[in-house]
Amino acid sequence: MQIHKYDVVIVGAGGAGMRAALESSKRARTAVLTKLYPTRSHTGAAQGGMCAALANVEEDNWEWHTFDTVKGGDYLVDQDAAEIMCREAIDAVIDLEKMGLPFNRTPEGKIDQRRFGGHTRNHGEAAVRRSCFAADRTGHMILQTLYQNCVKQDVEFFNEYYVLDLLMNTGPDGIERTAGVVAYELATGELHVFQAKSVVFATGGAGKVFKTTSNAHTLTGDGMGVAFRRGLPLEDMEFFQFHPTGLAGLGILLSEAARGEGGILRNADGERFMERYAPTIKDLAPRDIVARSMANEVREGRGAGPNKDYVLLDLTHLEPAHIDAKLPDITEFARTYLGVEPYTEPVPVYPTAHYAMGGVPTNVETEVLRNNTDVVPGLYAAGEVACVSVHGSNRLGTNSLLDINVFGRRAGIAAAEYAVDAPWVDLPENPEWLVEGMVEGIRGRESGERVVDLRKALQETMDRNVQVFRTEASMKEALGVIEELKERYANVVVQDKGRRYNTDLLEAIELGFLIELAEVITLGALARKESRGGHFREDYEARDDVNFMRHTMAYRPPVTVEEESPSAPFADEVTLDYKAVTVTRYQPMERKY
């Protein structure tokens, strides 16, 4: 085991982590730990754009953007956080341009902007051009630009280091503070303890809880799982976004930009069905509404294809040259993976699990909350792993690339400023015991259950029971399966017993996080007897502001040293509590588009 000492440790090198690193490394000694090479992070998969009310092509202002964000999130958004995000959006985009990001340009040479779902002028009047973009690889350009600037600034990376535990300890002043993290080095199998005054979690999402997803294989919710196991809460986990247009059967994303550029959804009869569900903004309604409408078309027998199990995204009326200029990558996906030529044929699509609105709760300074009011000194979170909450119960397209830049930046500054003044906290005794127990427990087992079987069972039950439509019965079924999987996981076995590049072992550990998070998602969804944003209950179809306009906070008892089997450190019981939503200027209204 090796011990390292840094003022600030950032966990994750996607957009949020690297944006934080650019700030933090200017102010304090900073290490970035990441399980993937920075440029492999899933921020690079983002396509459509990043919204900011630059007003480069038509009238716009950040207050309209805030309203859209709050309404899009079905009033579960903390409005102070949304105001900050939408106000700082403008500088966030300009900063990226100055760092070198090659945005598409207007005829005057300014940053070009296009329409995106749920973004409107003057509180819902009509769609507005707010999304700044670089063709349909905006995330790629953000990730590359941030990495390039990290190279310029000589940021120190520890690549292919998996952070598997968070350390806290009582500081010299008697307050429990952040002490560091424990990481597993993929190349050697060695454990590393990083002592740090502040830690920023920027580990991204958890889409692999589901089977059909736009998320990478590596998006397994590690950061959420690590914090949760240490007794910290998770907020609003039941809100998961299903993006309308995944390639049917595969889940690979076709950006909403396809509809922003004029694409139309049709059912088997060729009908533009969104006219029935959202008469004003039709195909550009927020994602939860479009996804449910699509699923409903299929359920009512109007799906396309021999099994009538998808709908069609029609781009055939667009000029091929326009498609090539604005949507080159996603049309290529349709050709490569489905063999469909989008110039002339509509593309089969179906909703795909896309984005975790919930996560590790933070305040607007990105400090992690240990309950409804108190923070853990020295611990920060930003990006998809966090819940500030700017997305409420449904994130608007383009608001995540914005979130990672605005709150990533804030986290980097806050973590470094804290580290400059804060005292060092001793490492707890045997800091590595939990990770060592986890790793050795799994590696040492000679026979048992295969990772793939458990993961498949988990993902299938989540797709079947906790997806676009949910009921009490479906979720109880899922919980039954999850309960069983927790037990079976204690028996999970890997074939690779080696130390070098043991990805077999890490897949098993990642599966542990997935099972744990699936339970939190489902329990939160079961308790939320209403429909709001991405969470739709067929047995409670209406939004219920009296009882449920509040955030869910899930807790479990922290793992302890007495824990008998650290290789399956699940809690017997998860408890739910609630936290008030911050409302500043927008009172809840019915959400119609």
Binding site: G100, F103, V151, H217, P346, Y501
Partner: protein
């Protein structure tokens, strides 16, 4: 396939609608903890028409031999994790459909060449990223910053569009015979990323980058074999970009 052909979502339907077939994969294996040298092992997997080579590798790892090791993340050709030699050609496993690589014969899968082998299909990427970092892959500007965005015409923006697509997968660099023989050569990917900045109208660092590439391990080592262009999974005209950098060096115009 037409849009009315099937693309069902659940496994059973998929099996019913899309024909499955058996393919053989010959995969290079090497575990530094036990093997003295790399060797090949053969596996049989059941594939669907829409499956990629990455799906086949996963099937082997998940159902036959968990120790088979390779990198992957996004699974749709955007993160650059899984460049490998498939039937002797550098490709991304996640972007290569099995049906497109002649599944009637065994499909050979090897690690990319020219970088130190770590285990099975995993190589040490550090030398590759070192070369990338050396060409100063970031915007360099003189003078004071404007308060708003810099102005750039769409035509100027288009000038370097092609080379912004690079995902640093190393498929090009590790397909280059010059790089195989001389690991010091910057390699196509680094030059592509230099091009991305040299031809960006906002950038003032062109001359210093060109000086770096004028080095004996720089662009002049390129022998225009076009392997890199063929290998690029993003369709970047790599050889053309290198030619443009060479021309910029000769004419000092960019």
């Amino acid at each position: 396939m037409t849009a009315t052909a099937t693309q069902p979502s659940s496994d059973e339907q998929k099996a019913g609608a899309v024909p499955t077939f058996t393919v053989t994969l010959k995969v290079q294996r090497y575990n530094p903890e036990v093997d003295e040298a790399p060797h090949f092992e053969t596996y049989e997997v059941t594939a669907h028409a829409t499956d990629r080579v990455l799906d086949a590798l996963h099937q082997i790892k998940w159902e036959q031999d968990g120790s088979l090791t390779f990198r992957r993340s996004c699974a749709h050709g955007v993160c650059g994790s899984d460049a490998m030699r498939i039937n002797g050609k550098n490709r991304l496993a996640c972007k290569t459909l099995i049906k497109d690589v002649n599944p009637d014969k065994p499909i050979t899968v090897e690690p990319i060449k020219g970088l130190p082998l770590e285990k099975d299909l995993v190589v040490d990427m550090e030398p590759f990223f070192d070369a990338y970092r050396e060409i100063q892959p970031f915007l360099i500007t003189n003078g004071h910053e404007p308060t708003r965005e810099r102005i750039q015409s769409q035509a100027d923006r288009d000038r370097f569009d092609d080379t912004t697509k690079c995902i640093l997968c190393a498929a090009c660099t590790t397909s280059c015979p010059v790089f195989w023989n001389d690991g010091q050569y910057f390699g196509p990917a680094a030059i592509v990323n230099a091009h991305r900045f040299i031809f960006d109208s906002r950038d003032d660092g062109g001359s210093q980058r060109l000086e770096i590439l004028n080095d004996k391990e720089g662009v002049w080592r390129c022998r225009t074999t076009f392997n890199c262009t063929d290998a690029c999974p993003r369709g970047i005209q790599v050889t053309k970009a290198i030619q443009e950098v060479k021309r910029a060096l000769l004419t000092s115009r960019f």
